[in-house]
Amino acid sequence: MKILNNPLQARNKEEIFSEEIRQDIDCWIAKYPPEWKQSAVMAALRIMQDDNGGWLTTELMDDVAEYLDMSPIHVYEVATFYSMYELKPVGKHKICICTNIACMINDSDSIVKHLKKKLEIGFGEVTEDGRFSLKEVECLGACGGAPMFQIGRKYYENLTPQVVDSILDGLE
Protein backbone atom coordinates (compact mmCIF):
# COMPACT_ATOMS: atom_id res chain seq x y z
CA MET A 1 0.00 0.00 0.00
CA LYS A 2 1.35 3.38 -0.85
CA ILE A 3 1.29 6.18 1.63
CA LEU A 4 -0.26 9.29 0.19
CA ASN A 5 0.25 12.85 1.23
CA ASN A 6 3.78 12.03 2.27
CA PRO A 7 6.11 14.31 0.35
CA LEU A 8 8.99 11.88 0.69
CA GLN A 9 7.07 9.20 -1.10
CA ALA A 10 5.10 11.36 -3.52
CA ARG A 11 5.64 10.53 -7.14
CA ASN A 12 6.31 12.92 -9.95
CA LYS A 13 3.08 13.76 -11.73
CA GLU A 14 4.55 12.25 -14.89
CA GLU A 15 4.78 8.87 -13.19
CA ILE A 16 1.12 8.72 -12.30
CA PHE A 17 -0.61 8.66 -15.68
CA SER A 18 0.35 8.17 -19.31
CA GLU A 19 1.07 11.28 -21.31
CA GLU A 20 -2.21 11.03 -23.18
CA ILE A 21 -4.23 10.84 -19.99
CA ARG A 22 -2.31 13.70 -18.46
CA GLN A 23 -2.97 15.88 -21.47
CA ASP A 24 -6.65 15.12 -21.23
CA ILE A 25 -6.85 15.88 -17.51
CA ASP A 26 -4.65 18.95 -17.85
CA CYS A 27 -7.09 20.42 -20.38
CA TRP A 28 -9.72 20.29 -17.66
CA ILE A 29 -7.42 21.66 -14.96
CA ALA A 30 -6.73 24.65 -17.22
CA LYS A 31 -10.40 25.63 -17.17
CA TYR A 32 -10.37 26.44 -13.45
CA PRO A 33 -8.40 28.87 -11.27
CA PRO A 34 -4.90 27.52 -10.56
CA GLU A 35 -5.63 27.02 -6.88
CA TRP A 36 -8.75 24.98 -7.74
CA LYS A 37 -7.22 21.97 -9.46
CA GLN A 38 -9.72 19.81 -7.62
CA SER A 39 -12.45 21.20 -9.87
CA ALA A 40 -11.11 18.75 -12.43
CA VAL A 41 -11.82 15.74 -10.22
CA MET A 42 -15.08 14.80 -11.93
CA ALA A 43 -13.46 14.94 -15.34
CA ALA A 44 -10.37 13.03 -14.15
CA LEU A 45 -12.51 10.26 -12.68
CA ARG A 46 -14.49 10.01 -15.89
CA ILE A 47 -11.35 9.85 -17.99
CA MET A 48 -9.86 7.12 -15.79
CA GLN A 49 -13.12 5.20 -15.77
CA ASP A 50 -13.31 5.24 -19.57
CA ASP A 51 -9.69 4.18 -19.77
CA ASN A 52 -10.34 1.26 -17.44
CA GLY A 53 -13.23 -0.35 -19.27
CA GLY A 54 -15.95 1.61 -17.52
CA TRP A 55 -15.23 1.34 -13.81
CA LEU A 56 -13.00 2.76 -11.10
CA THR A 57 -10.75 0.90 -8.73
CA THR A 58 -9.53 2.29 -5.42
CA GLU A 59 -6.04 2.50 -6.89
CA LEU A 60 -7.27 4.65 -9.75
CA MET A 61 -9.10 6.95 -7.34
CA ASP A 62 -5.92 7.22 -5.28
CA ASP A 63 -4.00 8.12 -8.42
CA VAL A 64 -6.51 10.84 -9.25
CA ALA A 65 -6.18 12.16 -5.70
CA GLU A 66 -2.42 12.26 -5.95
CA TYR A 67 -2.47 13.88 -9.36
CA LEU A 68 -4.82 16.63 -8.24
CA ASP A 69 -3.25 17.08 -4.78
CA MET A 70 -6.44 15.98 -3.06
CA SER A 71 -6.95 13.64 -0.16
CA PRO A 72 -8.14 10.20 -1.27
CA ILE A 73 -11.24 10.35 0.93
CA HIS A 74 -12.34 13.47 -0.87
CA VAL A 75 -12.07 11.67 -4.21
CA TYR A 76 -13.98 8.65 -2.88
CA GLU A 77 -16.72 11.00 -1.74
CA VAL A 78 -17.10 12.34 -5.25
CA ALA A 79 -16.90 8.92 -6.89
CA THR A 80 -19.61 7.52 -4.64
CA PHE A 81 -21.92 10.54 -4.79
CA TYR A 82 -22.46 10.73 -8.54
CA SER A 83 -24.34 7.91 -10.22
CA MET A 84 -22.27 7.78 -13.40
CA TYR A 85 -19.16 6.49 -11.68
CA GLU A 86 -18.99 2.71 -11.39
CA LEU A 87 -17.16 1.03 -8.57
CA LYS A 88 -17.70 -2.49 -9.89
CA PRO A 89 -17.00 -3.90 -13.36
CA VAL A 90 -19.65 -3.18 -16.00
CA GLY A 91 -20.30 -4.62 -19.42
CA LYS A 92 -18.52 -3.42 -22.52
CA HIS A 93 -21.86 -1.82 -23.35
CA LYS A 94 -23.49 -0.28 -20.30
CA ILE A 95 -27.21 -0.01 -20.96
CA CYS A 96 -28.78 2.71 -18.82
CA ILE A 97 -32.53 2.52 -19.09
CA CYS A 98 -34.80 5.28 -17.85
CA THR A 99 -37.86 4.13 -15.93
CA ASN A 100 -38.97 7.54 -14.70
CA ILE A 101 -42.52 8.78 -15.25
CA ALA A 102 -42.62 9.78 -18.93
CA CYS A 103 -40.84 6.56 -19.87
CA MET A 104 -42.90 4.53 -17.43
CA ILE A 105 -46.25 5.60 -18.87
CA ASN A 106 -44.86 4.82 -22.29
CA ASP A 107 -44.23 1.28 -21.14
CA SER A 108 -40.55 1.24 -20.27
CA ASP A 109 -41.53 -1.84 -18.21
CA SER A 110 -41.84 -3.86 -21.40
CA ILE A 111 -38.39 -2.74 -22.54
CA VAL A 112 -36.89 -3.65 -19.18
CA LYS A 113 -38.57 -7.03 -19.30
CA HIS A 114 -37.34 -7.63 -22.82
CA LEU A 115 -33.76 -6.67 -21.96
CA LYS A 116 -33.67 -8.79 -18.83
CA LYS A 117 -34.93 -11.78 -20.75
CA LYS A 118 -32.74 -11.28 -23.77
CA LEU A 119 -29.56 -10.66 -21.79
CA GLU A 120 -30.44 -12.99 -18.90
CA ILE A 121 -29.36 -10.43 -16.33
CA GLY A 122 -31.00 -8.11 -13.84
CA PHE A 123 -30.24 -4.51 -12.92
CA GLY A 124 -26.67 -4.07 -11.75
CA GLU A 125 -25.50 -7.27 -13.40
CA VAL A 126 -23.15 -8.09 -16.28
CA THR A 127 -23.69 -10.77 -18.94
CA GLU A 128 -21.42 -13.79 -18.69
CA ASP A 129 -19.49 -12.79 -21.80
CA GLY A 130 -18.97 -9.32 -20.32
CA ARG A 131 -20.58 -7.58 -23.28
CA PHE A 132 -23.58 -6.00 -21.59
CA SER A 133 -24.64 -4.65 -18.25
CA LEU A 134 -27.96 -3.20 -17.27
CA LYS A 135 -28.66 -0.20 -15.08
CA GLU A 136 -31.90 1.51 -14.10
CA VAL A 137 -31.51 5.28 -14.25
CA GLU A 138 -33.55 8.38 -13.52
CA CYS A 139 -34.94 10.75 -16.17
CA LEU A 140 -32.26 11.35 -18.81
CA GLY A 141 -33.92 14.46 -20.21
CA ALA A 142 -35.22 12.81 -23.35
CA CYS A 143 -38.81 12.23 -22.26
CA GLY A 144 -40.17 13.21 -25.66
CA GLY A 145 -38.56 10.06 -27.04
CA ALA A 146 -39.84 7.77 -24.28
CA PRO A 147 -39.14 4.98 -23.68
CA MET A 148 -35.42 5.46 -24.07
CA PHE A 149 -32.01 4.26 -22.94
CA GLN A 150 -28.40 5.32 -23.16
CA ILE A 151 -25.64 2.95 -24.21
CA GLY A 152 -22.19 4.38 -23.67
CA ARG A 153 -22.50 7.99 -24.70
CA LYS A 154 -25.38 7.60 -27.10
CA TYR A 155 -29.12 8.06 -26.57
CA TYR A 156 -31.63 5.73 -28.24
CA GLU A 157 -35.23 6.87 -28.21
CA ASN A 158 -38.71 5.61 -29.08
CA LEU A 159 -37.75 2.06 -28.19
CA THR A 160 -39.79 -1.04 -28.89
CA PRO A 161 -38.58 -4.60 -28.29
CA GLN A 162 -37.85 -4.89 -32.03
CA VAL A 163 -35.89 -1.65 -32.08
CA VAL A 164 -33.95 -2.82 -29.02
CA ASP A 165 -33.03 -6.04 -30.81
CA SER A 166 -31.71 -4.27 -33.84
CA ILE A 167 -29.72 -1.82 -31.72
CA LEU A 168 -28.09 -4.53 -29.63
CA ASP A 169 -27.42 -6.71 -32.66
CA GLY A 170 -25.73 -3.77 -34.34
CA LEU A 171 -23.20 -3.29 -31.52
CA GLU A 172 -19.76 -4.83 -31.67
Binding site: S39, M42, V78, L140
Partner: protein, 431 residues
Protein backbone atom coordinates in the same frame (compact mmCIF):
# COMPACT_ATOMS: atom_id res chain seq x y z
CA UNK B 1 -46.41 33.55 -32.75
CA UNK B 2 -44.36 30.53 -31.88
CA UNK B 3 -40.56 30.25 -31.94
CA UNK B 4 -39.80 33.90 -31.25
CA UNK B 5 -36.99 33.58 -28.75
CA UNK B 6 -34.92 30.47 -28.01
CA UNK B 7 -36.04 28.66 -31.15
CA UNK B 8 -36.13 31.72 -33.38
CA UNK B 9 -33.52 30.48 -35.84
CA UNK B 10 -34.50 26.86 -35.98
CA UNK B 11 -37.04 26.78 -38.75
CA UNK B 12 -34.96 28.89 -41.12
CA UNK B 13 -31.66 27.10 -40.92
CA UNK B 14 -30.36 23.69 -41.90
CA UNK B 15 -27.66 23.49 -39.27
CA UNK B 16 -28.58 26.23 -36.82
CA UNK B 17 -25.77 25.18 -34.48
CA UNK B 18 -23.13 26.34 -36.96
CA UNK B 19 -21.66 29.78 -36.37
CA UNK B 20 -22.09 30.99 -39.94
CA UNK B 21 -25.72 29.98 -40.04
CA UNK B 22 -26.42 31.56 -36.67
CA UNK B 23 -24.79 34.75 -37.90
CA UNK B 24 -26.86 34.69 -41.06
CA UNK B 25 -29.96 35.20 -38.91
CA UNK B 26 -28.53 38.06 -36.92
CA UNK B 27 -26.50 36.00 -34.45
CA UNK B 28 -23.86 37.87 -32.41
CA UNK B 29 -25.15 41.21 -33.73
CA UNK B 30 -26.39 42.25 -30.31
CA UNK B 31 -23.12 41.35 -28.64
CA UNK B 32 -21.21 43.18 -31.35
CA UNK B 33 -23.40 46.24 -30.94
CA UNK B 34 -22.96 46.25 -27.17
CA UNK B 35 -19.21 45.90 -27.35
CA UNK B 36 -18.64 48.36 -30.21
CA UNK B 37 -20.90 51.04 -28.78
CA UNK B 38 -19.92 50.39 -25.19
CA UNK B 39 -23.55 50.16 -24.17
CA UNK B 40 -23.78 50.76 -20.42
CA UNK B 41 -23.94 47.55 -18.40
CA UNK B 42 -26.70 49.04 -16.26
CA UNK B 43 -28.70 49.65 -19.42
CA UNK B 44 -28.43 45.95 -20.20
CA UNK B 45 -29.63 45.05 -16.72
CA UNK B 46 -32.51 47.54 -16.98
CA UNK B 47 -33.66 46.00 -20.25
CA UNK B 48 -33.57 42.57 -18.65
CA UNK B 49 -35.67 43.90 -15.79
CA UNK B 50 -38.16 45.50 -18.16
CA UNK B 51 -38.54 42.24 -20.07
CA UNK B 52 -40.23 40.53 -17.17
CA UNK B 53 -38.17 37.39 -17.87
CA UNK B 54 -38.53 34.99 -14.96
CA UNK B 55 -35.96 32.25 -14.45
CA UNK B 56 -36.78 29.28 -16.63
CA UNK B 57 -35.08 26.72 -14.39
CA UNK B 58 -38.15 26.30 -12.23
CA UNK B 59 -38.21 28.90 -9.50
CA UNK B 60 -39.29 31.77 -11.75
CA UNK B 61 -37.16 34.43 -10.08
CA UNK B 62 -36.88 37.65 -12.18
CA UNK B 63 -33.61 37.45 -14.10
CA UNK B 64 -32.94 41.20 -14.34
CA UNK B 65 -33.42 41.59 -10.61
CA UNK B 66 -30.99 38.74 -9.93
CA UNK B 67 -28.36 40.43 -12.08
CA UNK B 68 -28.83 43.74 -10.30
CA UNK B 69 -27.76 42.18 -7.00
CA UNK B 70 -24.17 42.10 -8.22
CA UNK B 71 -22.14 45.24 -7.80
CA UNK B 72 -20.34 45.40 -11.10
CA UNK B 73 -17.46 47.49 -9.86
CA UNK B 74 -16.60 45.46 -6.78
CA UNK B 75 -13.02 44.25 -7.15
CA UNK B 76 -12.08 40.66 -7.84
CA UNK B 77 -13.33 37.83 -9.99
CA UNK B 78 -17.03 37.30 -10.65
CA UNK B 79 -18.67 34.45 -12.50
CA UNK B 80 -21.55 33.66 -14.80
CA UNK B 81 -22.78 30.09 -14.48
CA UNK B 82 -25.30 28.40 -16.72
CA UNK B 83 -27.41 25.59 -15.35
CA UNK B 84 -27.73 22.93 -18.05
CA UNK B 85 -28.12 20.14 -15.54
CA UNK B 86 -31.69 19.52 -16.70
CA UNK B 87 -32.77 16.71 -14.42
CA UNK B 88 -36.33 17.49 -13.39
CA UNK B 89 -38.28 14.49 -14.72
CA UNK B 90 -40.28 15.55 -17.76
CA UNK B 91 -37.90 18.34 -18.77
CA UNK B 92 -35.96 18.12 -22.03
CA UNK B 93 -35.88 21.65 -23.42
CA UNK B 94 -32.35 22.74 -22.50
CA UNK B 95 -31.08 19.74 -24.38
CA UNK B 96 -32.63 21.17 -27.56
CA UNK B 97 -31.01 24.54 -26.96
CA UNK B 98 -27.61 22.88 -26.52
CA UNK B 99 -28.12 20.77 -29.62
CA UNK B 100 -29.72 23.25 -31.95
CA UNK B 101 -28.92 26.74 -30.76
CA UNK B 102 -25.70 26.68 -28.73
CA UNK B 103 -24.45 30.00 -30.08
CA UNK B 104 -27.43 31.89 -28.73
CA UNK B 105 -26.59 30.54 -25.28
CA UNK B 106 -22.95 31.56 -25.70
CA UNK B 107 -23.97 35.04 -26.84
CA UNK B 108 -26.32 35.34 -23.87
CA UNK B 109 -23.63 34.28 -21.42
CA UNK B 110 -21.09 36.77 -22.77
CA UNK B 111 -23.66 39.55 -22.50
CA UNK B 112 -24.45 38.44 -18.94
CA UNK B 113 -20.75 38.59 -18.14
CA UNK B 114 -20.52 42.07 -19.61
CA UNK B 115 -23.52 43.22 -17.60
CA UNK B 116 -22.21 42.10 -14.22
CA UNK B 117 -18.51 42.52 -14.88
CA UNK B 118 -17.59 38.83 -14.95
CA UNK B 119 -14.82 37.61 -17.21
CA UNK B 120 -15.27 33.87 -16.75
CA UNK B 121 -18.28 31.64 -17.25
CA UNK B 122 -19.06 27.96 -16.88
CA UNK B 123 -21.83 25.96 -18.45
CA UNK B 124 -22.67 23.00 -16.22
CA UNK B 125 -23.99 20.29 -18.55
CA UNK B 126 -25.41 17.10 -17.08
CA UNK B 127 -22.97 14.24 -17.54
CA UNK B 128 -25.31 12.09 -19.60
CA UNK B 129 -25.61 14.82 -22.25
CA UNK B 130 -22.35 13.81 -23.92
CA UNK B 131 -23.56 14.46 -27.45
CA UNK B 132 -24.91 17.86 -26.44
CA UNK B 133 -21.66 18.62 -24.66
CA UNK B 134 -19.72 17.89 -27.85
CA UNK B 135 -22.04 20.12 -29.84
CA UNK B 136 -21.58 22.91 -27.30
CA UNK B 137 -17.80 22.45 -27.26
CA UNK B 138 -17.71 22.74 -31.05
CA UNK B 139 -19.68 25.97 -30.81
CA UNK B 140 -17.26 27.29 -28.17
CA UNK B 141 -14.35 26.57 -30.52
CA UNK B 142 -16.05 28.45 -33.35
CA UNK B 143 -16.89 31.39 -31.10
CA UNK B 144 -13.31 31.58 -29.85
CA UNK B 145 -11.91 31.50 -33.37
CA UNK B 146 -14.30 34.27 -34.40
CA UNK B 147 -13.29 36.49 -31.49
CA UNK B 148 -16.59 36.31 -29.60
CA UNK B 149 -14.85 34.59 -26.70
CA UNK B 150 -11.40 35.20 -25.29
CA UNK B 151 -9.43 38.33 -24.54
CA UNK B 152 -10.30 41.84 -25.64
CA UNK B 153 -13.46 40.89 -27.49
CA UNK B 154 -13.78 42.78 -30.77
CA UNK B 155 -11.24 45.28 -29.49
CA UNK B 156 -13.51 46.41 -26.67
CA UNK B 157 -11.13 45.66 -23.83
CA UNK B 158 -13.67 43.23 -22.37
CA UNK B 159 -12.47 39.65 -21.82
CA UNK B 160 -14.69 36.64 -21.44
CA UNK B 161 -13.67 32.99 -21.18
CA UNK B 162 -16.31 30.31 -21.28
CA UNK B 163 -15.92 26.63 -20.40
CA UNK B 164 -18.18 23.67 -20.02
CA UNK B 165 -18.22 21.49 -16.93
CA UNK B 166 -19.72 18.02 -17.15
CA UNK B 167 -21.82 16.65 -14.31
CA UNK B 168 -21.73 13.08 -13.09
CA UNK B 169 -25.34 12.08 -12.63
CA UNK B 170 -27.06 13.75 -9.66
CA UNK B 171 -30.42 15.50 -9.85
CA UNK B 172 -29.64 17.64 -6.83
CA UNK B 173 -26.80 19.32 -8.73
CA UNK B 174 -29.50 21.21 -10.61
CA UNK B 175 -30.01 23.11 -7.36
CA UNK B 176 -27.86 26.16 -7.85
CA UNK B 177 -25.59 25.95 -4.81
CA UNK B 178 -25.15 22.19 -5.13
CA UNK B 179 -24.10 22.89 -8.69
CA UNK B 180 -21.48 25.36 -7.48
CA UNK B 181 -20.16 22.82 -4.99
CA UNK B 182 -19.98 20.32 -7.82
CA UNK B 183 -17.88 22.66 -9.98
CA UNK B 184 -15.63 23.07 -6.97
CA UNK B 185 -14.91 19.35 -7.13
CA UNK B 186 -17.09 18.22 -4.25
CA UNK B 187 -20.20 16.19 -3.59
CA UNK B 188 -23.20 18.16 -4.80
CA UNK B 189 -24.72 19.13 -1.48
CA UNK B 190 -26.65 22.41 -1.43
CA UNK B 191 -25.35 25.29 0.64
CA UNK B 192 -27.33 27.09 3.26
CA UNK B 193 -28.70 30.41 1.95
CA UNK B 194 -28.08 33.24 2.67
CA UNK B 195 -25.47 34.11 1.60
CA UNK B 196 -26.84 33.87 -1.94
CA UNK B 197 -24.58 33.19 -4.91
CA UNK B 198 -24.69 36.88 -5.88
CA UNK B 199 -22.52 37.51 -2.81
CA UNK B 200 -20.87 34.17 -2.13
CA UNK B 201 -20.98 32.00 -5.22
CA UNK B 202 -18.48 29.95 -7.17
CA UNK B 203 -15.12 29.83 -5.37
CA UNK B 204 -16.67 32.22 -2.87
CA UNK B 205 -16.98 34.97 -5.48
CA UNK B 206 -20.07 36.91 -6.65
CA UNK B 207 -21.85 34.72 -9.17
CA UNK B 208 -25.03 34.75 -11.18
CA UNK B 209 -26.45 31.39 -12.03
CA UNK B 210 -29.23 31.05 -14.58
CA UNK B 211 -30.94 28.35 -16.53
CA UNK B 212 -29.97 27.60 -20.14
CA UNK B 213 -33.27 28.92 -21.46
CA UNK B 214 -33.04 32.13 -19.41
CA UNK B 215 -29.56 32.91 -20.73
CA UNK B 216 -30.45 31.98 -24.31
CA UNK B 217 -33.30 34.49 -24.19
CA UNK B 218 -30.92 37.36 -23.46
CA UNK B 219 -29.73 38.22 -27.00
CA UNK B 220 -33.28 38.35 -28.36
CA UNK B 221 -34.51 40.47 -25.46
CA UNK B 222 -31.73 42.98 -26.02
CA UNK B 223 -32.30 43.00 -29.74
CA UNK B 224 -36.05 43.47 -29.68
CA UNK B 225 -36.35 45.31 -26.37
CA UNK B 226 -37.64 44.48 -22.93
CA UNK B 227 -41.15 45.71 -23.68
CA UNK B 228 -41.38 43.59 -26.81
CA UNK B 229 -40.51 40.47 -24.84
CA UNK B 230 -42.87 41.29 -22.05
CA UNK B 231 -45.71 41.86 -24.50
CA UNK B 232 -45.29 38.38 -25.92
CA UNK B 233 -46.65 36.98 -22.70
CA UNK B 234 -49.23 38.03 -20.16
CA UNK B 235 -49.33 39.91 -16.86
CA UNK B 236 -46.60 38.66 -14.53
CA UNK B 237 -45.41 36.12 -17.13
CA UNK B 238 -43.40 37.97 -19.74
CA UNK B 239 -42.17 36.38 -22.94
CA UNK B 240 -42.53 33.04 -24.57
CA UNK B 241 -41.45 29.78 -23.00
CA UNK B 242 -40.24 26.38 -24.05
CA UNK B 243 -42.60 23.60 -23.00
CA UNK B 244 -41.28 20.03 -22.95
CA UNK B 245 -44.38 17.95 -23.56
CA UNK B 246 -44.34 14.20 -23.07
CA UNK B 247 -46.60 11.38 -21.98
CA UNK B 248 -49.39 9.46 -23.67
CA UNK B 249 -49.68 11.80 -26.64
CA UNK B 250 -49.21 11.53 -30.38
CA UNK B 251 -46.57 14.16 -30.99
CA UNK B 252 -44.32 14.80 -27.98
CA UNK B 253 -41.61 17.42 -28.21
CA UNK B 254 -40.43 20.87 -27.21
CA UNK B 255 -42.66 23.77 -28.22
CA UNK B 256 -42.00 27.46 -27.82
CA UNK B 257 -45.20 29.42 -27.32
CA UNK B 258 -46.09 32.70 -25.56
CA UNK B 259 -46.77 32.41 -21.84
CA UNK B 260 -50.50 32.55 -21.31
CA UNK B 261 -51.23 30.18 -24.19
CA UNK B 262 -54.24 28.00 -23.30
CA UNK B 263 -53.29 24.46 -22.43
CA UNK B 264 -55.94 23.28 -24.89
CA UNK B 265 -53.92 24.83 -27.74
CA UNK B 266 -50.79 23.01 -26.66
CA UNK B 267 -52.85 19.87 -26.42
CA UNK B 268 -53.73 20.29 -30.07
CA UNK B 269 -50.14 20.99 -31.00
CA UNK B 270 -49.11 17.63 -29.58
CA UNK B 271 -51.83 15.87 -31.54
CA UNK B 272 -54.00 14.82 -28.61
CA UNK B 273 -54.00 11.48 -26.86
CA UNK B 274 -52.42 8.38 -28.31
CA UNK B 275 -54.53 5.38 -29.29
CA UNK B 276 -57.75 7.34 -28.81
CA UNK B 277 -57.48 7.20 -25.03
CA UNK B 278 -58.91 9.77 -22.67
CA UNK B 279 -57.02 12.57 -20.99
CA UNK B 280 -56.88 11.87 -17.28
CA UNK B 281 -54.38 14.20 -15.68
CA UNK B 282 -51.54 16.59 -16.37
CA UNK B 283 -48.34 17.33 -14.51
CA UNK B 284 -47.90 20.94 -15.59
CA UNK B 285 -44.38 21.89 -14.53
CA UNK B 286 -42.14 18.86 -14.02
CA UNK B 287 -42.36 15.94 -11.64
CA UNK B 288 -42.22 18.23 -8.60
CA UNK B 289 -45.35 20.18 -9.51
CA UNK B 290 -48.65 18.83 -8.17
CA UNK B 291 -50.81 17.00 -10.69
CA UNK B 292 -53.96 18.63 -12.09
CA UNK B 293 -56.99 16.68 -13.39
CA UNK B 294 -57.31 16.78 -17.19
CA UNK B 295 -60.68 18.51 -17.32
CA UNK B 296 -59.52 21.33 -15.11
CA UNK B 297 -56.32 21.64 -17.12
CA UNK B 298 -58.28 22.17 -20.32
CA UNK B 299 -59.56 25.46 -18.93
CA UNK B 300 -56.16 26.78 -17.81
CA UNK B 301 -53.63 28.98 -19.51
CA UNK B 302 -49.92 28.22 -19.29
CA UNK B 303 -48.52 31.06 -17.22
CA UNK B 304 -47.11 31.38 -13.72
CA UNK B 305 -50.23 32.85 -12.09
CA UNK B 306 -52.84 30.61 -13.70
CA UNK B 307 -51.04 27.40 -12.80
CA UNK B 308 -50.31 28.63 -9.30
CA UNK B 309 -53.95 29.53 -8.76
CA UNK B 310 -54.84 25.99 -9.73
CA UNK B 311 -52.62 24.78 -6.89
CA UNK B 312 -49.60 23.77 -8.90
CA UNK B 313 -46.50 25.34 -10.49
CA UNK B 314 -45.32 26.22 -13.96
CA UNK B 315 -41.85 25.10 -12.85
CA UNK B 316 -39.55 24.25 -15.73
CA UNK B 317 -42.44 24.03 -18.22
CA UNK B 318 -42.33 20.25 -18.37
CA UNK B 319 -45.82 18.99 -19.13
CA UNK B 320 -46.51 15.29 -18.69
CA UNK B 321 -49.86 14.27 -20.13
CA UNK B 322 -51.38 11.15 -18.62
CA UNK B 323 -54.13 8.93 -20.05
CA UNK B 324 -56.90 7.01 -18.32
CA UNK B 325 -55.00 3.70 -18.38
CA UNK B 326 -52.40 4.92 -15.91
CA UNK B 327 -52.55 4.09 -12.23
CA UNK B 328 -51.78 7.14 -10.12
CA UNK B 329 -50.51 5.01 -7.25
CA UNK B 330 -47.92 3.44 -9.50
CA UNK B 331 -46.94 6.88 -10.83
CA UNK B 332 -46.51 8.30 -7.35
CA UNK B 333 -44.54 5.20 -6.34
CA UNK B 334 -42.07 5.91 -9.12
CA UNK B 335 -41.89 9.63 -8.38
CA UNK B 336 -41.33 9.08 -4.67
CA UNK B 337 -38.60 6.58 -5.41
CA UNK B 338 -36.90 9.26 -7.49
CA UNK B 339 -36.68 11.77 -4.64
CA UNK B 340 -35.55 9.11 -2.22
CA UNK B 341 -32.85 8.03 -4.66
CA UNK B 342 -31.71 11.60 -5.37
CA UNK B 343 -31.81 13.13 -1.90
CA UNK B 344 -28.24 14.20 -1.13
CA UNK B 345 -28.56 13.00 2.44
CA UNK B 346 -27.55 16.23 4.10
CA UNK B 347 -30.82 17.19 5.84
CA UNK B 348 -32.49 14.61 8.05
CA UNK B 349 -36.11 15.48 7.12
CA UNK B 350 -35.36 14.95 3.44
CA UNK B 351 -32.98 11.98 3.74
CA UNK B 352 -35.30 10.04 6.06
CA UNK B 353 -38.59 11.54 4.93
CA UNK B 354 -38.20 10.78 1.21
CA UNK B 355 -37.45 7.14 2.04
CA UNK B 356 -40.42 7.00 4.35
CA UNK B 357 -42.77 8.49 1.74
CA UNK B 358 -41.57 6.02 -0.85
CA UNK B 359 -41.90 2.98 1.40
CA UNK B 360 -45.46 3.90 2.34
CA UNK B 361 -46.54 4.62 -1.26
CA UNK B 362 -44.77 1.47 -2.38
CA UNK B 363 -46.64 -0.70 0.07
CA UNK B 364 -49.95 0.79 -1.01
CA UNK B 365 -48.96 0.13 -4.62
CA UNK B 366 -48.14 -3.46 -3.74
CA UNK B 367 -51.42 -4.14 -1.96
CA UNK B 368 -49.98 -3.94 1.54
CA UNK B 369 -51.33 -0.51 2.38
CA UNK B 370 -53.08 0.24 5.66
CA UNK B 371 -55.96 2.61 6.19
CA UNK B 372 -53.88 4.96 8.31
CA UNK B 373 -51.26 5.28 5.54
CA UNK B 374 -53.07 8.14 3.84
CA UNK B 375 -52.87 10.31 6.94
CA UNK B 376 -49.34 9.14 7.50
CA UNK B 377 -48.30 10.38 4.05
CA UNK B 378 -49.80 13.78 4.73
CA UNK B 379 -48.05 13.99 8.07
CA UNK B 380 -44.65 12.97 6.66
CA UNK B 381 -45.04 15.61 3.92
CA UNK B 382 -45.61 18.20 6.62
CA UNK B 383 -42.44 17.11 8.37
CA UNK B 384 -40.32 17.54 5.22
CA UNK B 385 -41.68 20.60 3.43
CA UNK B 386 -40.01 23.83 4.44
CA UNK B 387 -37.59 22.13 6.79
CA UNK B 388 -34.61 21.52 4.53
CA UNK B 389 -31.66 23.46 3.16
CA UNK B 390 -32.84 23.18 -0.46
CA UNK B 391 -36.17 22.67 -2.19
CA UNK B 392 -35.67 18.98 -2.99
CA UNK B 393 -37.60 18.14 0.14
CA UNK B 394 -40.52 20.33 -0.93
CA UNK B 395 -40.29 18.82 -4.39
CA UNK B 396 -40.76 15.36 -2.86
CA UNK B 397 -43.76 16.42 -0.78
CA UNK B 398 -45.66 18.37 -3.44
CA UNK B 399 -46.51 15.53 -5.82
CA UNK B 400 -47.69 13.38 -2.91
CA UNK B 401 -50.07 16.09 -1.78
CA UNK B 402 -51.27 16.68 -5.33
CA UNK B 403 -52.02 13.01 -5.92
CA UNK B 404 -53.86 12.66 -2.62
CA UNK B 405 -55.86 15.79 -3.29
CA UNK B 406 -57.27 14.68 -6.62
CA UNK B 407 -56.83 10.92 -6.79
CA UNK B 408 -57.26 9.74 -3.21
CA UNK B 409 -59.95 7.39 -4.49
CA UNK B 410 -57.34 5.31 -6.31
CA UNK B 411 -55.18 5.04 -3.22
CA UNK B 412 -58.20 4.02 -1.18
CA UNK B 413 -59.07 1.39 -3.78
CA UNK B 414 -55.57 -0.04 -3.60
CA UNK B 415 -55.83 -0.28 0.16
CA UNK B 416 -59.30 -1.85 0.11
CA UNK B 417 -59.02 -4.18 -2.88
CA UNK B 418 -55.27 -4.74 -3.12
CA UNK B 419 -55.28 -3.93 -6.80
CA UNK B 420 -55.50 -1.05 -9.25
CA UNK B 421 -58.69 0.79 -9.94
CA UNK B 422 -57.67 1.44 -13.53
CA UNK B 423 -55.70 0.09 -16.40
CA UNK B 424 -53.80 -3.07 -16.56
CA UNK B 425 -55.49 -4.86 -13.68
CA UNK B 426 -53.67 -6.16 -10.61
CA UNK B 427 -50.50 -4.44 -9.61
CA UNK B 428 -47.23 -6.22 -10.10
CA UNK B 429 -46.53 -8.91 -7.56
CA UNK B 430 -50.17 -9.49 -6.73
CA UNK B 431 -52.54 -12.26 -7.65
Amino acid sequence: MANEVCFRTLEYLKQPWELEEYKSRGGYEVLTHILKNKVGPSEVVETMKASGLRGRGGAGFPTGLKWSFISRNAPGQKYVVCNSDEGEPGTFKDRDILRYNPHQLIEGMVIAGYAIGATVGYNYIRGEFWEEYERFEAALEQARAAGFLGDNLLGSGFDFQLHSHLGGGAYVCGEETALLESIEGKKGQPRFKPPFPAHFGLYGRPTIINNTESLSSVPVILKEGGEWFKELGVENSGGSKLFSISGNINNPGVFEVPLGTPFSELFELVGGMKDGRKLKAVIPGGCSSPVIPGEQMMDLTMDYDAIQKAGSMLGSGAIVIIDDQQCMVKMLDRMSYFYHEESCGQCTPCREGTGWLWRVVNRIENGKGRQEDLDLLESVCGKIAGRTVCALGDAAAMPVRGMLKYFQEEFQYHIDHKRCMVGAGPTKGLG
